[in-house]
């Protein structure tokens, strides 16, 4: 363990006045015993309780505390992003003040330093959910694994340690949608998962409703993958084809079957014709929307993981600067008259 690593601990606060003092003192003790240079970054996400007053008191008692108060409530991920953008450490740790334990932080910092990537905390004792929710969750995670190419694990939390190079990559992503649990995975670099147990403070538990989770899932997919749009394209083309075939069937019936009801043919042809066009239009639009999504994305196409150059000892390839003739090969065909 290198005590000279500079460490930043980012803690988003949201109505946490009752636990902030105890938490900051604990973080100061645990981190201070392992590292000489660190900062505790408290990001106040529009708290309306006495968080500000409590923090002012802490600022005069504990060294290395920084306080950022956002102008209104923006959401936990945005608050954490603000903290990460302002953090100076070689390793940046984010945590949930309501339930994440502090004593394991030095271990994930060391893991992060070794890998040079991101260490994600996996909470093993999350609240048990209904079987239905679990099922849907699994399907969603599998879908993400296939379509987004990221390995979302069940129980992944906001406790994570990021190396400076992965933070620098994150800083280049200027997108509005910031679901850090997935965004950090999409940066690349090496990912490790650290299972731990949640320790809720002051009986505070964070409960996310099913609706919120579904909304987040949909936002995530819409922002990151074109696959659903491709499905729409495929369905549109399929619909168009089917309508075309149906149109053919209508004509066939009209020409071969006796006793077709008056008006049925024209009505059916009109319907299938309109649906054919609608499907085609949907197909084309979905492709263009997909392209717009790709162009509007404000993140780099790639991040460099490592750069290395040749370093071969050159022997005796230094040419003398003497020449034996005053003309070169090419100019022998030039004539001057």
């Amino acid at each position: 363990m290198d005590p000279n690593t500079v460490v930043s601990i980012v803690i988003p606060l949201e109505g946490d006045a009752h636990l902030v003092e105890e938490l900051v003192v604990e973080v100061d003790q645990v981190i201070g015993s392992c590292y000489r240079f660190f900062e505790i970054l408290l990001v106040d996400d529009g708290s309306t309780d006495e968080t500000a007053a409590k923090v002012q008191f802490l600022l005069s008692r504990i060294k290395r505390v920084r306080y950022l108060r956002l102008s209104r409530q923006f959401g936990r991920d945005i608050a954490m992003s603000a903290g990460i953008e302002s953090a100076i450490g070689d390793v940046v740790v984010t945590m949930d003040p309501k339930a994440d334990p502090v004593d394991i932080i030095p271990r994930i910092i060391e893991m992060c330093k070794k890998s040079g990537g991101v260490v994600h905390g996996i909470a093993e004792n999350i609240q048990p959910r209904s079987i239905l929710r679990d099922c849907i969750g699994n399907i969603f995670r599998n879908y993400c694994r296939r379509r987004l190419g990221v390995d979302i694990r069940r129980g992944v939390s906001d406790l994570r340690a990021m190396s400076r190079q992965s933070v620098n990559a994150l800083l280049q992503v200027r997108e509005q949608h910031r679901y850090l649990r997935v965004l950090t995975l999409m940066l690349g670099y090496q990912h490790e998962f650290f299972p731990y147990l949640l320790q809720p403070r002051s009986g505070a538990t964070r409960v996310t409703s099913m609706r919120e989770e579904v909304a987040t899932a949909i936002d995530l997919l819409a922002a990151n993958t074109r696959h659903p749009l491709r499905v729409v394209t495929a369905l549109g083309l399929l619909g168009a084809c089917l309508n075309l075939l149906y149109g053919g069937y209508i004509l066939f019936v009209y020409l071969t079957k006796p006793g077709v009801a008056a008006g049925w043919t024209s009505l059916s042809l009109q319907q299938s014709g309109m649906f054919f066009f609608v499907c085609l239009i949907l197909t084309v639009l979905s492709e263009y929307v997909g392209t717009i999504l790709g162009e509007v994305r404000s993140r780099p196409l790639y991040f460099i993981g490592q750069e290395a150059n040749s370093s071969v000892l050159l022997e005796d390839t230094v040419q003398s600067s003497i020449v034996k003739e005053s003309v070169g090969w090419e100019s022998s065909s030039v004539s001057t008259t």
Binding site: V6, F37, R66, E85, S86, I88, G89, N168, L171, Q172
Partner: protein, 373 residues
């Protein structure tokens, strides 16, 4: 007690301001005596600073301060040209996050003030982390060698025949028939027309010992790191504005570079006024635990200029920086020039920027004028 002279003026404090004021008074026919606590001149605040001659780039939100600063810059360069060091590239940069000013605002403002900004070369631009830096420019600003400044002033004082008492303190000032009576720590009592209190952080030592009301001041315990720049940064100085402010500049008298950061340079601050009472700030400086914040300064500044990682830490300069509480609310750094409310013959002078000395001369002219011969 020596016989009262009509044109004797005592100057408490042998820093840049104290010595310069002595010369101003001498030129107007007065007989100044400089009294300095340390054994040499210009040893405290005049020596421990970033040695920057302000070019007006530091106040992108206060037009008058910036304009005045630029004006003083030209004059300072001219008057103290022997001590000026300008053989380096001065780069100003605006950060992307948390900046109080945008690149565009900065450019427009500097054009208005007359402070030149040029496009930086590709190699200079590559030194910066583009994700965190909005824009960079080459500016016109220089540094001064405080040792040469000190020697220059000392010679001037010698040639003018001005008496300088080192290792001595003006302990108290009292009303007297000629104007004021100054009691010094060497036991002497000098009658004079005026006493200039140019002791910077120690302003209130004099007021409290003389039974006068304290001047409200704010003190900061500041650290400036002294480093050796890596090869890629040789000859370059960077100032990052305007939220995440940090700066590294050459420090000619030691042939090193100073690194200063708005968040990590001040270690602590305290106020001094009639309620809190006077505390000798130099004693506090002596007793304060001095654990360097260099690693933190480096961690933040190297996010913007990665090459700084290879800088070598040599030492830190510690000082008490004194500010007027009114500059808490705005960017301006005015000079205090105040006749004491109870004892008008005592004049307090306190300024935070060396290149503002010319403003002091205007005040000396107005309030003290020429000696009556």
């Amino acid at each position: 007690m020596n016989h009262p002279k009509n044109n004797q003026i005592i100057i408490a404090g042998g820093g840049f301001f104290g010595c310069s004021i002595a010369m101003m008074l001498h030129r107007r026919g007065w007989h100044p005596i400089v009294v300095e606590e340390e054994l040499g001149l210009l040893t405290r605040a005049s020596r421990v600073n970033q040695a920057r001659v302000h070019g007006g780039y530091h106040y992108p939100r206060s037009l008058m301060t910036a304009y005045r600063s630029r004006h003083n810059y030209q004059r300072f360069r001219q008057v103290y040209r022997n001590a000026i060091v300008d053989q380096f590239t001065k780069v100003y940069a605006i950060g992307n996050y948390f900046s109080k000013v945008t690149a565009n605002q900065f450019e427009v403002f500097m054009k208005r003030v007359g402070a030149p900004l040029r496009e930086a070369s590709g190699s200079t631009q590559r030194l910066f982390n583009t994700a965190l830096t909005e824009k960079i420019w080459i500016a016109e600003e220089c540094a001064f060698d405080c040792a040469l400044l000190r020697d220059g002033l000392r010679n001037e004082l010698e040639q003018a025949g001005i008496e300088v008492r080192v290792g001595t303190v003006v302990e108290s000032v009292h009303p007297y028939s000629s104007g004021a009576l100054a009691r010094l720590s060497d036991g002497s009592e000098l009658a004079c027309k005026f006493v200039f209190n140019a002791t910077y952080a120690g302003l209130n030592r004099l007021t409290s010992a003389s039974g006068l009301p304290l001047i409200p001041l704010k003190h900061e315990l500041t650290e400036m790191a002294l480093i050796e720049l890596p090869e890629e940064l040789e000859g370059i100085s960077v100032t990052m504005m305007c939220g995440p402010f940090f700066s590294f500049m050459p420090y000619p008298s030691l042939d090193l570079t100073t690194l200063s950061h708005v968040r990590y340079t001040p270690h602590a601050h305290w106020y001094e006024n009639d309620e809190t009472g006077a505390v000798n700030p130099y004693k506090r400086l002596g007793f304060a635990a001095k654990t360097s914040n260099f690693e933190l300064m480096l961690a933040d500044s190297s996010r913007y200029v990665p090459a700084l990682r290879n800088a070598v830490y040599c030492d830190s300069l510690w000082a008490v920086k004194t500010l007027l509480p009114l500059s808490d609310s705005d960017d301006g750094r005015p000079i205090l020039f105040q006749h004491d409310s109870k004892l008008p013959a005592l004049i307090h002078v306190m300024g935070g920027k060396i290149d503002n000395i010319f403003d002091v001369e205007d005040e000396v002219e107005r309030w003290v004028g020429n000696a009556i011969t």
